[in-house]
């Protein structure tokens, strides 16, 4: 690792923690990959060995080429990479850029003396911005590029302040709410000092997004990207989402679902837990006058993230479960991450099972209920303590251990209920009665029915494991008794299927 101030560290590309610069970086990576076929590792090598060539030579060329490729339906795509200039031997920024620009003019100049850049598709984000303007000829276009690359002092006002003109997620210069007397303090200079080449990343920002087209409703079109603070993690996941979106043209899955499938896949590969704790989905959609509609940031709470890091828990929650008579499915992990309660879903699922409509998903239901009950218990216990408790910094390890212990204890103890009767019919009847009391959340009736049915069974009612479990998990439990109650019902139904 280099110490700060050494030149190499300034050149290497990595996330900064500022999401709009980071998304621009991702866009930059996507761009280079699309045009030159470099993946992240190759790009990093290139930047390490010859940063000037990448930023001043390959980048402007790639940007223009990509824009033209998009317009001409990938006609240019077939051009062989060998035809591209190599910027042999030169290390001078200006010289590299000149060489690159010469190549651009030689190849892409149109009859009007203009590089035919267009602000369609994702470039709509920069509608009428600098060199996209139809009136700008090659000289002006070149000069704008020089400004962006920092080869020339900034002349265009739009680049001095980073505001709504270049980043739609920001207010305009005058509107910055808390700085009434100066205008935006985020100037290009400031940014460049913190993140070199950040103006480039401002330009590549829209390329970091994946577009979801909804043919029926244009308003539902949106560009979305997955953002976490780990570059490699974000890069891989976005790549996967893109593949999935391209693959699933008929089946319109929600962005959230697709993203999560990608995340779960990548998780297994990368194991980058700290990134998992800082994840966002950023979506935007522009109207005709470039206003933002539908901006969304979806953060994933650290608690939920920590829990799904556990392989067994994740596997069991990573299932679709049927929850209503119409064939409707819910993806448990998605509900979990959104912070929705799983109990009602499992309840609906059991209702269907009771009516003999389908098979019980036992282990997924068991995990869902126990994870939820343990979280409730945990939250209750820590109600008065601070948010940043030792558990927070420990990634909730003790909670996860607790959940797993509970699962083995409860699945054994609650399974004993099967001894209540030999007959599947009786068990079904009891299950139904218990289920009804849970619906109205009536603990008194639940216990009453349970114990009345147990009363005739001398072995089971005096089974130490069983009565201790009931005492601890149902009677003495005022936070989550209904979840344990439901587990009993599940066990009564579970055996039934085998008989």
């Amino acid at each position: 690792m280099n110490s700060i101030g050494q030149p190499q560290i300034n050149q290497q590309i990595d996330f900064t923690g500022n999401w709009f610069i980071d998304i621009g970086m991702l866009g930059f990576i996507n761009l280079m990959e699309e045009v030159y076929g470099w993946n992240l590792d190759v790009l990093r090598e290139e930047i390490e060995s010859e940063p000037e060539k990448v930023y001043y030579g390959y980048f402007p060329l790639a940007y223009i080429r990509y824009n033209l490729m998009k317009q001409r339906e990938k006609k240019l795509n077939k051009t062989n990479n060998n035809e591209l200039p190599f910027f042999k031997g030169s290390v001078d920024k200006k010289q590299i850029f000149e060489e690159s620009w010469k190549f651009i003019e030689d190849n892409y100049l149109d009859d009007d003396g203009r590089i035919p850049l267009s602000s369609s598709n994702e470039f709509y984000y920069f509608h009428n911005f600098l060199f996209f303007q139809p009136k700008w000829k090659k000289e002006k276009q070149k000069s704008a590029f020089e400004e962006i690359l920092g080869l020339k002092n900034l002349e265009d006002d739009v680049l001095v302040h980073i505001d709504k003109t270049v980043c739609k997620f920001l207010p305009s210069k005058e509107e910055f709410p808390n700085i009434s007397y100066t205008g935006s303090l985020i100037t290009n200079d400031t940014l460049q000092n913190i993140v070199p080449h950040s103006t480039i990343f401002v330009l590549t920002f829209p390329l970091g997004f994946i577009s979801f087209i909804n043919e029926k409703d244009e308003k539902e079109n949106r560009r979305t990207m997955f953002y976490s603070s780990d570059m490699k993690f974000s890069y891989k996941i976005n790549k996967k989402i893109k593949q999935m979106v391209e693959r699933s043209t008929e089946k319109k899955e929600s962005i959230f679902t697709v993203t999560w499938e990608a995340i779960i896949d990548t998780l297994i590969e990368l194991k980058s837990q700290w990134a998992l704790e800082n994840m966002y989905l950023v979506s935007y959609n522009l109207t005709d006058n470039q206003n933002l509609i539908n901006v969304e940031y979806i953060g994933i709470p650290k608690l939920q993230a920590a829990i799904i890091m556990d392989d067994t828990i994740r596997e069991n929650l990573n299932k679709y479960i049927r929850y209503s008579k119409e064939i409707k499915w819910k993806w448990l992990i998605q509900e979990f991450i959104k912070g929705n309660l799983l109990y009602p879903t499992i309840m609906n699922h059991l209702n269907l099972v009771l009516n003999k409509d389908l098979e019980l998903s036992y282990s997924s239901s068991l995990y869902s209920l126990l994870v939820e009950s343990k979280i409730l218990e945990f939250k209750k216990k820590n109600e008065k303590s601070q948010i940043f408790s030792p558990d927070y910094f420990d990634n909730y390890k003790s909670l996860i251990k607790n959940i797993k212990d509970e699962i083995s204890f409860t699945s054994f103890a609650s399974g004993l209920i099967n001894q209540i009767s030999e007959s599947a019919e009786t068990k079904n009847r009891i299950a139904r009665e218990l289920f009804e009391t849970l619906k109205s959340n009536n603990k008194n009736m639940f216990l009453n029915i349970l114990l009345k049915n147990l009363n005739g069974n001398k072995e089971l009612s005096s089974n130490r494991n069983f009565y201790n479990w009931i005492l601890k998990k149902i009677i003495a439990n005022n936070t989550s008794f209904e979840m344990y109650g439901l587990i009993l019902v599940m066990n009564l139904l579970r055996r039934k299927k085998n008989e």
């Binding site: 009453n448 114990l451 001398k458 009677i475």
Partner: protein, 116 residues
Amino acid sequence: MNEKNMYYWQKVVGDRPISMDLEDIREAVSEGFKSESLNYKQKLVYNLLETIRNNDQKEFFYILLKAINKPKKDYARLLEQLNNNYDVMPEEAFVNFAYTVVIGIMATYDGGEKNE
């Protein structure tokens, strides 16, 4: 003020863990009823369950006290527990307490002497 009485009222507003107390009660009940006959206990449990169901605290304690109103040493600990815990309770607390008593009796089903 008595610690154990306090808990029921705290339960309504506060969050003290309760399992230890209930466990004590459960053990005292089991100890008391360990040598009664199975039939007797099953019938008793049935009657108790009926009263809990209606949240009839008066009847519950009436039946329970009648049952343990015997010159037996077994009941000493249970009587002490009742002495500490008896109160007019909010329903939530009563339900927890009463079912603990029932579970305590049921836990002795396999060990009772066949003296009937």
